[in-house]
């Protein structure tokens, strides 16, 4: 059925075994959501900024071809080498070939969800390149041989005691020390040595400006800058949708990005890379990997407006209680659940169902993506294309047959009411997938049809 039998509901059930931990996870993310609320509520122009950002992104998607060409031309004039990758494999090979040309086999990398999506680390490891993730959260999950569980807070699922133990094992910190200040200082020392010795740095891209051929990378830690400014070779990886038309549009996006993400007014560093440092190589890899296909899906194309702030994660009642790994894809949460089926409908058919459709995600989205409506639409597409889970398919077929045959329908209703009333254990058990998440209703004496027939006679 699903690839590796990975299904959101099953993985969430595993995460849900430890109830206090689920509560803690839930509360921590809700705290971040509240910080976001405080930051946006003090800006009277917040809604106008959202609308502007949304319209700019709509324009980007409708003219993406031209903007990419303009960006390429200006970036090349600035001395940047521009590469194009149709898919994850080509992206990974391009990175490797740039490293090979420079005889580099040890690199640092700052956060880039695109490289997670392309599984770059695994690929580079397989060809003998040592990659050190330099974002603290990413370094923690990398040491633990895990994937990030959140696109902004990669190790939000880890407790400080576990991180203390991990650092004791890998960085030699004293056993039992779980003080965040102390552990961060240990990581700072550990990673500074990497920054000073590695000759190539990979970064992501938050925004690429068509007008000027520059790109912007936002971090709080300063790790992207430490890597890029000390390396001989800087490789920046970006999806085609990272383009914005004009430099002044950064004024809109940098006002909304971090407020939505963590409630800060801006990230500590918003670095604009326009030309390579003297004597340095600067490469940009522009990656499609299914994005142009998503652009052609009318119902789903505006998922490409996403600026990866993760506000939809932090507000989502399902994400907060099921954890990022239950989504079994690089970008989890509500937005990931509409991006992933585009990459592989079969493998990610479960994700659009991992939502209550409450709409909170759409309400906080700074670029006004109709996330919950797209989740609903994906469910219909997946059912039609035959990618729904087998149990759901059988249930839906049974339901369709029952509803289209009045005699069967009446009989089934009668049986159902009798069973719920007299033999409740037959439905209130683990075998009933419906009962697993819900209380069964109490059984009425008669159906509406029966009631109507009786009363109609009385009144005649």
């Amino acid at each position: 059925m699903q690839n590796n039998n990975k299904v959101h509901a099953t993985l969430a059930a595993t995460f849900n075994v430890d109830e206090p931990r689920v509560d803690w996870h839930d509360e921590t993310l809700w705290f971040v959501r509240q910080k976001r609320d405080k930051a946006v509520q003090v800006l009277p122009e917040w809604e106008a900024l959202r609308e502007a950002a949304s319209q700019i992104k709509n324009n980007v998607l409708s003219n993406l071809n031209e903007y990419l060409l303009q960006f390429e031309k200006n970036a090349m004039q600035n001395g940047i080498t521009v590469h194009w990758a149709a898919n994850d494999k080509e992206h990974n090979q391009l990175v490797h070939s740039i490293l090979q040309q420079n005889e580099i086999n040890r690199i640092v990398k700052s956060k880039s969800m695109l490289t997670e999506e392309c599984h770059l680390n695994e690929y580079l490891k397989s060809v003998g390149v040592d990659v050190v993730d330099t974002d603290l959260g990413e370094r923690i999950v990398q040491l633990a041989d895990q994937a990030p569980s959140h696109i902004v807070l990669p190790c939000i699922h880890w407790k400080k005691e576990e991180i203390g133990e991990l650092f004791h094992q890998y960085l030699g910190t004293p056993k039992g020390n779980a003080d965040p200040q102390f552990l961060t200082a240990a990581a700072r020392e550990h990673l500074r040595e990497k920054f000073l010795t590695r000759r190539a740095a990979i970064t992501g891209v938050n925004f690429a400006v068509a007008e000027t051929g520059e790109f912007v990378v936002c971090t709080n830690e300063g790790n992207a800058d430490m890597g890029a400014h000390l390396a001989d070779v800087h490789i920046a990886c970006m999806g085609i949708e990272k383009i914005i038309p004009l430099q002044k549009h950064l004024g809109v996006f940098l006002r909304i990005l971090t407020r939505s993400a963590t409630g800060q007014p801006i990230t500590t560093y918003s670095s604009h890379f326009r030309q390579p440092r003297q004597g340095q190589q600067l490469h940009i890899i522009i990656v499609d990997n299914g994005r142009s296909r998503q652009l052609g899906r009318e119902d789903f194309r505006n998922s490409l407006k996403c600026i990866r702030c993760a506000a939809c994660f932090n507000t989502c009642p399902v994400y907060r209680r099921s954890g990022g790994h239950s989504y079994h894809t690089a970008i989890a949460g509500p937005i990931g659940s509409i991006l992933a089926p585009n990459l592989d409908m079969k493998q990610y058919a479960d994700l659009p169902f991992a939502s209550t459709l409450c709409g909170s995600c759409s309400n906080v989205c700074p670029v006004k993506i109709d996330i919950h409506q797209q989740l609903y639409k994906w469910r219909q597409v997946l059912m039609q294309e035959g990618y729904a889970p087998t149990a759901k398919k059988i249930a839906m077929k049974g339901m369709a047959a029952t509803l289209s045959h009045p005699v069967v329908y009446r009989l089934a209703g009668k049986m159902g009411r009798w069973v719920v009333k007299h033999l409740p254990f037959m439905v209130n058990n683990k075998l009933n997938a419906w009962y697993k998440h819900r209380e069964m209703p109490s059984s009425p004496k008669e159906s509406f049809g029966e009631w109507y027939a009786k009363n109609r006679k009385k009144n005649v």
Binding site: W158, M226, E298
Partner: protein, 197 residues
């Protein structure tokens, strides 16, 4: 067909009908007391800020604040009596032992406490990231209200690298506990210089 052509063709084929770019409003900020706002915001994100009359006043404060600092490096000439002057062409890796770096910034942004600096002012791109403590000097006349006004000032200027820096480097990756000094400076101090006319 190369990947470039394939991608561009697919995009051209799949992109929707053109929708116009919006006219983005500036949201009038003429009533914002920018210096006050700048100070409040920078302090709220972990930065330190002082209003001063001249460089001598800055040096006096720095002497107290960084009593134990061994290597204090400045890219501003007027600090030559107090700090080591930056030498152009040095290997940026050698900046690893800089305790305090003193830089000029083009302007500050009141809404988020950031300063805008470019390669031209920094001399070496890594300088404000690799030092243990960062000191930036801005003119009191050069504080704008929002990022939108900031980009009006940046428009048309040339730089190979430029960055907004808002406070010390930080992380909250361990259980959302805020720690100042992730990879970059552990402190950032901004001096707002009131030039006497």
């Amino acid at each position: 067909m190369s990947s470039r052509e394939k991608i561009l063709a697919a995009i051209k084929n799949n992109q929707p009908a053109c929708t116009p770019l919006p006219e983005v409003e500036y949201f009038d900020q003429s009533c914002t007391p920018v210096v006050e706002k700048y100070k409040t915001v920078l302090q709220s994100i972990g930065g330190k800020v002082h209003e001063v009359k001249d460089v001598a006043a800055i040096i006096e404060i720095l002497r107290q604040q960084f009593e134990d600092a061994v290597r204090i490096l400045s890219v501003i000439d007027s600090f030559s009596g107090y700090a080591e002057m930056f030498t152009q062409g040095d290997d940026p890796h050698k900046l690893d032992n800089v305790d305090v770096a003193i830089i000029n910034a083009h302007f500050g942004v009141a809404e988020n406490g950031a300063v805008w600096v470019t390669e031209h002012l920094l001399q070496e791109r890594v300088l404000p990231f690799i030092c243990q403590h960062l000191v930036a000097v801005i003119d009191s006349q050069n504080i704008v209200a929002t990022m939108q006004v900031a980009y009006d000032r940046i428009a048309g200027t040339q730089y190979g690298f430029g960055t907004f820096i808002a406070g010390p480097s930080k992380t909250a990756d361990i259980e959302q506990s805020l720690v100042l000094g992730a990879h970059g400076p552990k402190t950032m101090t901004v001096f707002i210089l009131h030039n006497q006319q």
